[in-house]
Amino acid sequence: MRDQATAGVEGSTGVVQQPLADVRQEAERILVSAEERGIVLRILGGVAVLMHSPSAEHRALQRAYGDLDFITLGSDRAELPSLFVELGYTPDAEFNTLHGHQRLYFWDSANQRQVDVFVDTLRMSHTLDLRQRLHLDRRTIPLADLLLTKLQIYEINDKDVRDIIALLRDHPLGSGDEEMINLDRLLAILTADWGFYRTTVKNIAVVREALSANGLADDADIASRLDELERAIEAAPKTRAWKLRALIGDRKPWYELPEEVRRD
């Protein structure tokens, strides 16, 4: 009997398995294995958006999926190398030795795919501490944090923009994390960190332009949620640190340009 859901090599603890070609099925396999071992591991990136937002599969928003990004807790970090080896991955020993307190790399040679695992905090163009947010969803981080991981990208690309549109198309802004984008969480970050705010405002403008390019300019849900988000960000009171940094403005870089290491 052919069954796509169980395709691939079955395995049990102690037996090295084979990563699946389908990136979504592979993400599920990794998440289930981590949960079975009691490891807190949550997926980020486009595959996480795909899990939460059916609109990511709409013809106007479809995109290719490459590497897999996860985040774990520092207390569970030591468990990850053995988990990924058992799942058929090769650890980047040198990188993990040097940087493993913040980030880990694993390589899937069968599918030429890299797995990045952030530890506690996402450090890219901006910094997002996720330690208190990893128990709110069994598979991914909450929608607000998922949106923040996309909005913080200074050099945002077309895939990231499509992911932002899909998230906003399918989920209202609200005051909780259950199937809605928690506006309180967004504002807590964006009213305390002027740099994060500055990149977010820039990216909202990029998303607006992309709506037209993708034939979605008339989509009322997306446009109204972008308006709502922008209004809320501008209206919310800012911290003293935010205001002081705002005085300097664009005269000083407000973002990092993270160096992406990829083994292919």
């Binding site: 052919r2 059916p54 013809r59 198309r169 199937e179």
Partner: protein
């Protein structure tokens, strides 16, 4: 031989149409070592077929249909890439009209079976009235979809059920695994219902097989 299972497994608490009986599969009290289970399900639980009596007051029940209506050739039509609760237009049929033959089944692949365990499963794309009318006009004997409902569930629609069942097109809902089938290619399909009589529908074990290979080994 390649045999494709297109059915969701029936388990307690599985996704079901709002208001329908909550599926329950529980062990019955038995003398050890015997085991028997109690099944409490609706006639439209899981992967199931709708008979016309599901919606039409004078419609035929499932028990009046011969087995030939449930074992038949057909093809998958690709209709992936639509929004939640979006009406799927008639033009998705265009690439398949020439090859499709009256009496076959037409299976619409929306890809929504991926959301089986999510709240978004209930906000699936659905058939436009024009698409439903076109399915009847093409002479389909049975129409299947990998979503909860051929109508909009979010908007409590019913016009597609009315059109298809009035046109004597049986409806199979909650299919899964259509990714394994190639759109536009002819397969054998089976959607054999439980042997019920004057009932409005029944769970089915839905499957497909390659027509260019024998279903049973020779000899």
């Amino acid at each position: 031989m390649a045999l494709y299972d297109l059915s969701h497994r029936i388990v307690s608490g599985m996704p079901h149409f709002p208001g329908d009986p909550v599926p329950q599969v529980t062990p019955a009290t038995m003398e050890p070592p015997w085991r028997v289970s109690s099944l409490a399900i609706g006639s439209h639980t899981g992967t199931h077929v709708d008979a016309p009596s599901h919606f039409l007051p004078d419609g035929r029940p499932i028990g009046e249909y011969p087995l030939e209506r449930f074992i038949l050739p057909g093809m998958v039509v690709d209709a992936t890439g639509f929004w939640m609760n979006e009406a799927i237009p008639e033009d998705v049929l265009a690439p398949y009209r020439e090859a499709f033959k009256p009496g076959w089944c037409l299976i619409l692949r929306t890809g929504w079976d991926r959301h089986w365990d999510d709240e978004s499963y209930y906000r699936h794309p659905y058939l436009s009235d024009a698409l439903a009318a076109a399915v009847v006009a093409m002479g389909a004997s049975l129409f299947g979809i990998d979503a909860l409902n051929v109508d909009s569930t979010a908007d409590s629609g019913n016009t597609v059920h009315d059109t298809l069942l009035r046109g004597d097109v049986l409806i199979v809902e909650n299919l899964r695994g259509l990714d394994a089938l190639e759109a536009g290619r002819t397969y054998g399909f089976g959607f054999v219902p439980l042997a019920l009589g004057d009932v409005d529908g029944a769970p089915v074990r839905a499957l497909a097989w390659d027509l260019d290979q024998p279903l049973l080994p020779a000899g």
